[in-house]
Amino acid sequence: MPMLGSSASTLPRPKPCLESYARSQAVKSNRRPNLSSKSAQSPPCSKIRDYPLAISTALYQGEPVAAIVAESPSLAEDAAELIQVEYESLEPVLDAEQALEDKSILHQEMGTNKVWNGVFEYGDVDKSFQEAAYVVHIDRLHFHRFSSTPLENNVVIAEWNPKDDHIYYSCNNSFPSFAIQFLAAHLTVHIDRIRVQTADIGGSFGIKITNYPQMAVCALASKKSGGRPIKWVETRSEHMTSSAHGNERTFRDTRVALDKDGVITAIASRHIDDCGAYPRYEPLGCVIWSQVFPGVYQFKNARIDFTQAVTNKCPVGPNRGYSRMQHLWFLERVVDICAHEIGIPADEMRLRNYIQPEEFPYTTPNGCVYDSGNYPKMLEIAKQLIGWDGWKKKQAELRKEGRLIGIGIGTTLDSGTNNFGQSQIVNPGAPFSGNSQGANCKLDIYGEVVVAVGSCPQGQGHETTAAQVVADVLSISPDLISVRTGFDTERNVHTGFSGTYASQFAVSGLSAVHGAAQKLKTEMKRLAAFVLETKEDDLEFSTGAQGPEVRANSTGKSINYWGLANIVNVNSAVLPPELHEITLNCRYIWRAPFKVPDKQKKYGNLTLTYASQLHIAVVEVDRETFIPKILDYVAVDDCGTVINPPIVEGQVYGATAHGIGAALLENCVYDAVGNMLTSTFSDYTPITALNMPTVRYGHIETPSPHSYSGAKGMGEGGAAPIHTISAALQDALFSNGIIIEDSFNNADTLFRAVVGREIYQADKLVKLDRRV
């Protein structure tokens, strides 16, 4: 077994390095099962051949076509230079709408570029449009492609033991229990023979969920090399071109019905999602967005025709805010554009359309249950924090000088702990539903409290909060709890849903930890009652002179954790048979209280908790350079009961930086023939300390009735800054006849809009049909 996560020189023999570049005979795998999500896919998209190395056609720039194994990365690079690949170029398809014309087909075996299509219709849409006082038409909106680009690239060490076909992985995959379900089938080994271990992970944001194709190549290379450990360290350019990007989405022919007060009564629209060359985690994104179907708004009638297509770009992965942020951005654009067309201020428009605090728990038109929230209150706090009236006055003054200042509001949801039953909406045969997480809590032989969870933390502080929860149950200090870090299949605390994704640790992870700790406490009580010759309700958990202990109140006698562990583990002759079932080693599986959604009606509760965020930004567009600059920024958060305030605040800041980066700086750009032009950080320009504004933070707590602690998952942030900055730019430029059509805006796009008049022209994009 190799040592973990360290450099080659510490090993008894150098670890060969794998350079993924191009096709090799060594790992020809075209007879193996696919790597795409078969269980979530139905024909024709399940026919796609998706292998870790391209077989005869490479479908996007950066797609691995061969693998080289060498003693060092530099030798592997030398070897890669010797590979000459002859490519015959095919007609590239880089836009999802164009892809749907099926003129150039990516996957011949699928016969079309359409991955999935479905209509989500609720209420009476046609009637709402007939009765509307206003109908607003928006021709096109577009959510751009970006990635949250964890700072640590993908890394895999694989060792395929030829003696027992046991595969060991030390890697940074962030959803290992999902990855092994593909890998076992693909590598044709028993799933129990794959051990995956993760340690500290240098960020994932969902992007590291889909690095299993590379994991497969490493295992096959190890097998080929007779079982030597193979290490693959992705380069940044490989990461940018061929790990995963977030989903790109185009919204066409949107029609919005409103009553005379500007209350939205119906929305009809056509959404086209671009999943890149291979639908790997997809087409789950075709339904995940409907967790937040109406966003934070009250409208009951809607028809969304949703289609997903493949294009010659990097496959997408579930990037932070996955599939929901695209939809929430769309809804915020709709609200702002309608408000402007009808002449209602942006804040007032929201207050008229928000779901009201007294309506929670609120059932959405598609059957999701929003647990709790108070959006008007968040707006009030955010307005106070930013100094709304002051900025409005200042804006009016500066506008007179010709300065382009905008104030924007973005309200968003961070839906957490999803019901995997929604996969059946995209594929009725999918064998998934519900959600679960495992944890183990034990007194080890010497009485240490040890906790293991099936999550896969990357800096979200799982170790801290898990220790807090166990400490609370046992009434001891968190410092006395040892939390096993990282993920390990051999700890036997994972379920098929274990990992870290979809804003859920506070609910699924901590519920599992809480359940395991309760189970342990129950056993400790039974044992202590026997030893101390008293009743269980006479016992108290505390810390005494000999460390943490259980004390009998009636007699004052106590036994410490060492004593309890000693009896069960190495002194068991003192135990009567009826206590033999006590192990002080308690595994607990938490299961979310979900039902299988109605596949035909596309109806059911898809997520357990709904954290919300409300941001306000003041943005100025420079009149000379058109560089957009944030002048002021506030973020108000509601994630129910807060378990650890600095951790929550840290997640809010982090998600805010991702959103601001995505809105203004970070864009995956492809040229007309499919070359990725932003394949290094120098071109992609992740947000830095110089362009990240100071964020003023506020919060409210509306405890969730759906989690034991009242907490809600909140790791993704709902991409609030993207909505907020689009809204602020819109406000700054409305009077110039500009509609912010795209989620990505930099000096170039704003210049082309305002001066060039090439894009974003309101008269071409938006029409108002006034019937009052």
């Binding site: 002859e86 490519y87 350019s237 032009l677 290094t680």
Partner: protein, 146 residues
């Protein structure tokens, strides 16, 4: 990314002579900038090796060429494709010949498609560099046909 180029020049040779020169790779290939060598597979297929370098990315490109149109003495067209560290290139280049008072007018046009890592690392440099090299080739042709 695509680089398009084109232009025209006049030489004193007759169209037939120009045509024969342009369709004989042994004659014109050595005029390619940084020519390293060539091999001929058959009268319409040959492979040339040229040295290419942009900033720190340096290497030898092997380009397979095919004479795809041969209409003596009016038009010749080549198609080619090849690879170099960090990228691939495919190109077409055509020559239309017409007689003029004291010689031949050569109208030429071409397009090169460049793929791969090379474009994102050195994208901005490729177009001027490509144009410079094409100009060198044309200058060489003109000089050879004087």
């Amino acid at each position: 990314m695509a680089i398009k180029f084109g232009g025209e020049f006049e030489v004193k040779w007759k169209p037939e002579e120009v045509y024969d020169f342009l369709t004989d790779p042994k004659k014109f290939a050595p005029l390619l900038p940084d020519f390293q060598g060539m091999s001929e597979q058959d009268p319409t297929h040959f492979t040339v090796k040229v040295k290419v370098g942009i900033s720190y990315i340096k290497g030898v490109a092997e380009v397979k060429m095919e004479l795809t149109q041969a209409d003596r003495p009016k038009r010749a067209q080549y198609k080619g494709s090849g690879s170099v560290a960090g990228g691939n290139v495919s190109l077409t280049a055509g020559f239309d010949l017409s007689p003029v008072a004291n010689g031949t007018k050569v109208a030429w046009q071409g397009e090169a498609q460049i793929f791969g890592r090379l474009t994102s690392v050195a994208g901005g440099l490729l177009e001027p560099l490509g144009k410079k090299n094409v100009q060198k080739l044309i200058d060489g042709l003109q000089a050879a046909m004087k």
